[in-house]
């Protein structure tokens, strides 16, 4: 059953530009994949590490800005991409050193503040970042000499990266490192009594998460060919967190489903109303109050509840 479903999904994704009907939808599919990579990256911390970050848009933006800035400064695409990921990793290390002085709410507050600093730099340090006007990226890179200018070509390139991200996440979840990260989430004191360096495990998790966040930022920079301070706002951080939580944090498919849901909602909502933030906030509140464990397990629970007619106390609350 499961391999069949996976194969079906793979075929659907591989042939998507041929059946979805139009470059507009192909572009939306690329966006979903990019955000899914971002959400997978954040899920490492939120789902497996129990560390909720509200500053990840800062890391995402760091990668996007660094790539656009380096290309604008005359660097080659490969050098710019490497530099951008390197800088994002450095920034993640800085985030980790500062934010890992706390866990839980403290971690959330510190990452929020750090994210706001990075937003402030993008917005106010005009001689470096061009402020509100942002930076244009002259052209998409041409890996192996292939042009990514068309929506379908870009979609396939994104799909490759996305598949790599999913594969690496699956390895990570199954690996001893993944298990020890889940251990630090559930029983940090026992883990440290067992001789694990809890801080180091969390630090590496932040780096791993930052790496994929950076990759997503890079992809987004290539997709849009434009970066602006808007990428780094608190509402971007909240959006990606919503993807993780709405789909179901701590699962592999949850963030992907969440990314598809949020991007689709955003696209549909913005076609009819301008008030995306209102919709975002409302879904956020609804999900947290009604289905804190995410849509898929949550709807299952509601279904069971409806069948039994007698509410059993919610078991799986959001961590």
């Amino acid at each position: 059953m499961k391999p069949a479903a996976l194969a079906l999904a793979g075929v659907a994704l591989l042939t998507l530009p041929y059946w979805i009907g139009g470059p507009y939808y192909v572009n939306i599919a690329s966006q979903i994949l990019i955000w899914a990579v971002f959400a997978l990256g954040l899920n490492v911390l939120v789902g497996y590490g129990g560390l909720v970050s509200l500053g990840h848009a800062g890391l995402f933006g760091t990668a996007a800005y660094a790539a656009a800035w380096l290309v604008a400064a005359g660097a080659g695409q490969l050098a710019a991409a490497t530099g951008a990921i390197g800088l994002t990793l450095l920034m993640s290390a800085l985030f980790a050193v500062l934010a890992l002085r706390a866990t839980g709410i403290g971690f959330l507050m510190i990452t929020l503040a750090l994210g706001q600093i990075l937003w402030g730099i993008a917005y106010r340090w005009i001689s470096l970042t061009n402020g509100d006007n942002g930076i244009n990226l002259s052209a998409r890179p041409m890996p192996l000499g292939l042009s990514l200018a068309s929506p379908a070509a870009f979609y396939f390139a994104t799909l490759v990266i996305f598949a790599l991200a999913v594969g690496m996440m699956a390895c990570f979840v199954a690996s001893p490192f993944g298990a020890s990260l889940r251990g630090t989430r559930d029983q940090p004191r026992r883990m440290s009594a067992l001789g694990y360096d809890v801080w180091l495990i969390r630090f590496l998790a932040v780096l791993f998460s930052g790496f994929w966040t950076g990759i997503a930022g890079l992809l987004f920079c290539y997709y849009d060919q434009f970066v602006s301070p808007h990428l780094l706002t608190l509402s971007s951080s909240a959006e990606v967190l919503l993807m993780v939580i709405s789909g179901g944090s701590g699962t592999l498919l949850g963030p992907i489903a969440g990314a598809a849901l949020v991007v689709a909602m955003k696209t549909i909502a913005s076609a009819y109303i301008e008030r995306w933030n209102l919709v975002l906030g409302a879904i956020f509140v609804a999900i947290i109050v009604l289905m804190p464990e995410g849509l898929v397990p949550g709807s299952r629970r509601l279904w069971r509840w409806a069948l039994q007619r007698r509410g059993t106390p919610a078991e799986g609350v959001a961590r």
């Binding site: 503040a113 608190l234 509140v285």
Partner: protein, 286 residues
């Protein structure tokens, strides 16, 4: 020379406003263990409600009181109807306040449009007073006096009354406070109302100098956050000292380092986090 004096006066008056905003934020954080991410929204919404009050013909002070009351009611309702459902789950509570802040921001944009609204200074407080050879704007001095009066009242309330003693007990150890028969959950509502009311009042009080515009919430919330990280959660003196430090940095930062103003603003917070994570006046949490 006079430019620095102007900056100093602006710093102190902004410090006063920030104190009104962050005192409530700090108490809520201290008692309920959550940063209320709607606090900036309450500040902005308070200012907008005050603007509507002015348009309906209220005078400035009644409008400011109206903002405070309206936000207190809204804050109380938020706590009773939504946060209460997630009692004990701190993370969902924080995310809930985040979601609410987006909703409030968008509703404000719908109702009061995206154009900045300037509020004129109340007639009796216009003009300048000469002090020691400098001229100071009366309204800014008035803000400082009002903030000082409210700080004193809050301190008296916390230090000398039964309610204050219960709040302090709740901040120090909610579990034991509950065991001792203190109605901690009712305190949550009371403190939330108080904090929200102060934020709304501060919003209207600040309107003549800051004006009211979309994004004001996102501007004020990080400031309240830094103040509380600096001063320590649940500590009134911490909020007071933190507010003035941030008031000074917010005004002198852009003058000294125009492009790095935001970084300068957050630097002391980072220092405190590294050297004294519980904040200048905070207590080590068990």
């Amino acid at each position: 020379m006079s430019q620095w004096v102007v900056l100093a006066v602006n710093s102190v008056s902004l410090g006063g406003l920030l104190f009104l905003l962050s005192a409530g934020f700090s108490l809520i954080f201290g008692l309920m263990r959550i940063p209320n991410l709607t606090h900036g929204s309450l500040f902005m919404l308070g200012a907008y409600v005050g603007v509507t009050g002015l348009r309906l013909g209220l005078d400035f002070w009644s409008a400011a009181l109206l903002s405070g009351l309206a936000m207190a009611v809204l804050g109380g309702a938020m706590e009773r109807l939504l946060l209460r459902r997630l009692q004990g789950q701190e993370l969902p509570q924080v995310l809930l306040t985040l979601g609410l802040s987006f909703i409030v921001a968008d509703l404000c944009l719908m109702e009061w449009t995206g154009d900045p609204i300037s509020v004129s200074t109340p007639a009796t407080l216009r003009g300048f007073v000469p002090v020691l050879g400098f001229v100071f704007p009366v309204y800014r001095l008035a803000i400082v006096l009002i903030a000082a009066a409210i700080a004193a009242a809050l301190w008296l309330m916390l230090d000398r009354t039964r309610l204050g003693a219960m709040i302090r007990a709740g901040v120090d150890d909610p579990a034991i406070a509950r065991v001792m028969g203190i109605p901690v959950s009712r305190l949550f509502t009371a403190v939330f109302c108080l904090g929200a009311g102060l934020a709304g009042f501060a919003g209207m009080l600040g309107a003549p100098i800051l004006s009211v515009y979309p994004g004001l919430d996102g501007e004020m919330l990080p400031l309240a956050l830094i103040v509380v990280i600096l001063g320590g959660s649940g500590s009134l003196p911490g909020a007071l000292v933190g507010s003035f430090v941030i008031g000074v940095l917010y005004n002198f930062g852009p003058a000294l380092f125009p492009e790095l103003a935001y970084v300068v603003l957050f630097l002391p917070m980072l220092l405190v986090l590294v050297l004294r994570p519980q904040g200048l006046f905070g207590r080590q949490t068990p």
